[in-house]
């Protein structure tokens, strides 16, 4: 935690804060992303403040994952600008990209676990990546695995795990590095309702600890249930930034709205309003 903070602080010094009064963490400014002739994201603009929990919704292929990829620096915008904590990601290079990513925990849609390593090792590798001294791994890994409910499966290989368990391995790995931002790409996609609910509870708890969470999902039940700020995207047209009440989910798909409620609810960026 301390190390992660330190790294973060270092970066903060390098960055030019975009706005003094608003603790904006993530800023999309007219971002267009196209893969060749296919436009995945068109003229998208939004801000995410520190400590926010944001759902990104939209139909498949609308560009939800692209947004996450843009935040992670996996892809760069074709047009526009993505800033995270004031840092223009277009300025990232091979040298500072890894340390930037080390501040972000990602729960991948397809898990992206290392198939030839155990659950324990999959989590530990993330700790190795951030350069945590090896003696501290065991305690941290065990704690995280307990948190996600995989203590018993610590020495299992991915092939021995169910989809939900794999999802939780991915989550555990993301959480283990104590990131400031958590990106979750359809984290409940492979989970039954109960498990998904448990996961969501966990994410919410983490969010309460001050982590900024951006979750892409098309599971509207969850969106409805947790009543967070929603950014709705439809890659072909425009995106709608929906407030934390996604009650009108069906209606909003073709509209462009910017609901500020969520923002209002978390003026400090570290707190979220009770649902």
């Amino acid at each position: 935690m301390g190390l992660a903070l330190f790294v973060f602080t270092c970066y903060s010094e390098l960055l030019k804060p975009m706005s003094q009064e608003e603790p904006v963490l993530i800023n999309f400014k007219s971002v267009t992303k196209s893969y060749g002739s296919i436009v995945a994201l068109s003229d998208m603009s939004f801000d995410v403040k520190k400590g926010e929990f944001v759902f990104i919704t939209g139909p498949s292929g609308a560009g939800k994952t692209t947004i996450l990829k843009l935040i992670l620096g996996e892809v760069l915008p074709t047009k526009g600008e993505v800033r995270v904590d004031g840092l223009n990601l277009a300025n990232l290079n091979d040298k500072n990209l890894p340390s930037y990513r080390q501040r972000i925990g990602v729960i991948f849609q397809d898990f992206k676990v290392l198939s030839d390593r155990t659950v324990y090792e999959n989590v530990a590798v993330a700790l190795a990546v951030i350069g945590l001294p090896e003696p501290q791994w065991e305690e941290r890994v065990k704690h995280i695995l307990r948190l996600v409910g995989l203590s018993r499966q610590a020495n299992f290989f991915p092939s021995q795990l169910s989809g939900g368990e794999l999802q939780r391995v991915s989550l555990a790995r993301a959480l283990s590095i104590n990131p400031k931002i958590i990106l979750a790409d359809e984290p409940t996609g492979n989970l039954d309702w109960k498990t998904a609910d448990g996961l969501m509870d966990l994410l919410e708890k983490i969010n309460k600890e001050g982590k900024t969470i951006i979750m892409a999902t098309h599971n509207m039940e969850i969106v409805d249930k947790y009543k967070k700020r929603v950014i709705h995207v439809d890659g072909k047209k425009e995106q709608v930034d929906i407030g934390k009440e996604p009650n009108n989910k069906k209606d909003n798909t073709d509209e462009t709205k910017d609901i500020k409620e969520g923002e209002e609810s978390h003026p400090e960026g570290g707190k979220i309003k009770e649902k």
Binding site: L72, E74, D94, L97, P98, S99, Y100, R101, Q102, R103, I104, V106, F108, K112, V113, L114, S115, D116, V125, A126, A128, V129, I130, E134, R173, I177
Partner: protein
């Protein structure tokens, strides 16, 4: 790091065959490159040996004073172009020769240090100085010849040897480097392929690690470590195998190359060399190529002394010898013929004359033989001297060769393999020649000694023959003296002799024969008693006749006894063998004769004188019975008693 090491170890464990393949290829590569390195090292060492140690050897003339040699040595030591001046004495030369011919110790024993040239050996700092140094040293009065390492006679040079060595070294280096290069490329490719396979297999892993913020170093480290493990394993194994092989083989290799330090001689040195290989201190084996090349034709200055030893046994047939043989035969026939004729004085004289002629001829023959033998001995002596000289010079050549050559140089100085073979053949021939020379030397010595002995025998024979001749002449004279060349007197003498002989014979018959006795001689104050039947002379035919002392020698014995009384030592045997004391072929003693330089006169006197003579203390020979049949010696008379 330990994380990466663990990860790398995990990779290796998961694909052991790839790991083995890589390690083996790397092992092979490093083994071969180590061996090539050693080859390059050795060949350059060899080249350096020949380049930097072009020993020039100045052979000193044999009769040079030590001070002169020391003077030259000091001058050489003062020369800036010259280093390592060393003096090799004659004694050291002999021991070098003995070592060089240790397979045939006789060769070393036959020679003395004096035949070997002392020498001054030195090296030049740069090969370009060599020719100049050789010329300078050649100009010295005390220097006999100058040799230049692989060559004798100074007309040849080491350049060709070095040129050849350079070619060999370059081939080794180029070939080795090419081979090692190919192997290295191969193993690198294999290493890359396997690493690539690793990367491909880990693409997903790499992607994930990328996404969770792993640095490139983090991702690559295990792969690099894995490759390093293969490399280290290959290097260590290849090195170890090569080291052990070379360590195992080095005694025989070092032994074969002898003085040439192509490999360190001890294990520690080898280890250092191999350490240098591991440390890639390649510059250590780099050797200077600066080298002033002069083309001087290679010629091994081996001058084989072809000694034409022809056994020039005199073909001159001794016509004198034949003539002598013919004459000897002739005279012997004549003597036989004369002996078969009537016993007349004339005949007897003729016999003497023939005998004298015969003996003269024999003496001439012996003299001729001695002369011939003497010539042969002289010849043999010359041959022996020449052979010894030849052998000595061969020994010197062999010694010089041993200072310069070894088998390797023969191979290297040969223009092609046939030449190399013929050089070996040539060497063998030289050795055979040495052997046959040695054999001839030994034979010649044996023959020489045999002939010397023969010569001594002949000399003795000559002396005897000359003595015989003198005796024969004397006998003839005595006969002429006794008979005054009168046939009547001769016949008279002959009949007296016959009468006496028959008287003696009858006495002996009466006495019951004359058996041979032994140790009868007794000497006292008076003189000696000699018994005619003593084995010392009893069987001698008196004067060369058939009448033996035992039967007829009483008078002779008596004469000897009387002589002994007067202190004259003429034993009966001495008289008996003297031809000139007896009437030829009769055993009848002259009344006057000489034996061993003592002249004896016998005169017949009347019985009346006996008493007076005996009274005067002078012994008397008395004849007994009427013949007289026997002779005795009367020594003294005490009153009426006469002592015999």
């Amino acid at each position: 790091m330990s994380t990466h090491l663990k990860t790398a170890w995990g990779y290796i464990r998961r694909s052991p065959f790839q790991a083995l393949a890589v390690s083996f290829v790397l092992t092979l590569t490093f083994f071969v490159s180590t061996v090539v390195y050693v080859l390059v090292y050795s060949s350059s060492k060899m080249l350096t040996y020949f380049e930097t140690r072009p020993q020039i050897i100045a052979f000193i003339k044999s009769d040079v004073k030590d001070t002169e040699i020391a003077d030259l040595q000091h001058r050489l030591e003062a020369d800036a172009q010259i280093r390592d001046v060393k003096y090799v004495s004659k004694e050291e030369a002999l021991s070098i020769y003995q070592e060089a011919t240790s397979d045939n110790p006789l060769l070393g024993q036959l020679v003395s240090p004096s035949i070997f040239p002392a020498s001054l050996e030195f090296s030049v700092n740069d090969l370009s100085f060599a020719q100049n140094a050789i010329n300078n040293v050649k100009g010295e009065n005390i220097v006999d010849s100058v040799g230049f390492t692989a060559a004798l006679g100074g007309e040849t040079s080491l350049d060709d040897v070095i040129g050849r060595l350079k070619t060999v070294t370059n081939y080794v280096r180029i070939g080795g480097i090419t081979f090692v290069g190919l192997l290295t490329i191969t193993s690198l490719v294999i290493l890359l392929v396997i690493t690539g396979m690793r990367v491909v297999a880990r693409r997903e892993e790499v992607e994930i690690l990328n996404l969770i913020g792993a640095t490139k170093g983090f991702i690559r480290s295990p792969l690099v470590i894995e490759a390093s493990i293969y490399t280290i394993a290959g290097v260590v194994m290849g090195w170890a195998i090569a080291f052990i092989s070379v360590l195992y083989l080095s005694p025989s290799i070092v032994g074969y190359f002898g003085d040439i330090p192509i490999l360190p001689k001890d294990a520690l040195g080898l280890f250092k060399l191999f350490g240098a290989i591991l440390g890639k201190r390649r510059d250590e084996v780099c050797f200077k190529m600066k080298f002033h090349v002069k083309k001087v034709s290679i010629l091994l200055g081996i001058c084989l002394v072809f000694f034409a030893f022809t056994k020039t046994v005199s073909a001159q047939t001794c016509s004198n010898t034949e003539e002598c043989n013919r004459l000897i035969q002739e005279y012997q026939n004549e003597i036989s013929k004369l002996q078969g004729q009537a016993s007349t004085l004339k005949n007897q004289i003729a016999q003497f004359d023939t005998q004298i002629k015969l003996t003269t001829v024999k003496i001439a023959q012996t003299a001729e033989q001695i002369k011939m033998l003497g010539g042969r001995i002289n010849q043999l002596g010359d041959s022996l001297a020449a052979l010894t000289e030849a052998f000595n010079s061969r020994a010197v050549e062999t010694y010089k060769l041993s200072k310069f050559e070894n088998n390797l140089v023969y191979i290297l100085t040969a223009y092609n393999i046939e030449d190399a073979v013929s050089k070996f053949h040539y060497l063998e021939k030289i050795q055979e020649e040495d052997q046959s020379l040695l054999k001839r030397l030994e034979d010649a010595q044996t023959t020489y000694e045999g002939q010397k002995a023969d010569q001594e025998v002949l000399q003795k024979q000559l002396k005897t023959q000359q003595a015989n001749l003198n005796a024969q002449k004397l006998a003839k004279n005595n006969l002429l003296l006794a008979t005054k060349n009168d046939e009547v007197k001769y016949q008279q003498l002959l009949s007296q002799a016959k009468a006496q002989l028959s008287a003696f014979q009858s006495f002996v018959t009466r006495q019951g024969g004359a058996s041979i006795l032994s140790n009868q001689t007794k000497c006292n104050d008076w003189g000696c008693y000699y018994n005619q039947r003593d084995s010392e002379w009893g069987n001698i035919g008196m004067g060369g006749s058939s009448y033996t002392m035992a039967n007829y020698g009483c008078l002779v014995s008596s004469v000897s006894m009387v002589a002994s009384h007067y202190g004259k030592n003429i034993k009966p045997g001495d008289i008996a063998v003297s031809n000139d004391a007896f009437v030829p072929a009769t055993g009848y003693l002259y009344h006057s004769f000489s034996v061993n330089g003592i002249t004896v006169s016998i005169s017949s006197v009347s019985k009346s004188i006996i008493d007076s003579e005996l009274s005067a203390g002078r012994p008397v020979i008395a004849g007994l019975y009427s013949g007289p049949d026997h002779f005795i010696v009367l020594t003294r008379k005490d009153g009426d008693i006469i002592h015999l």
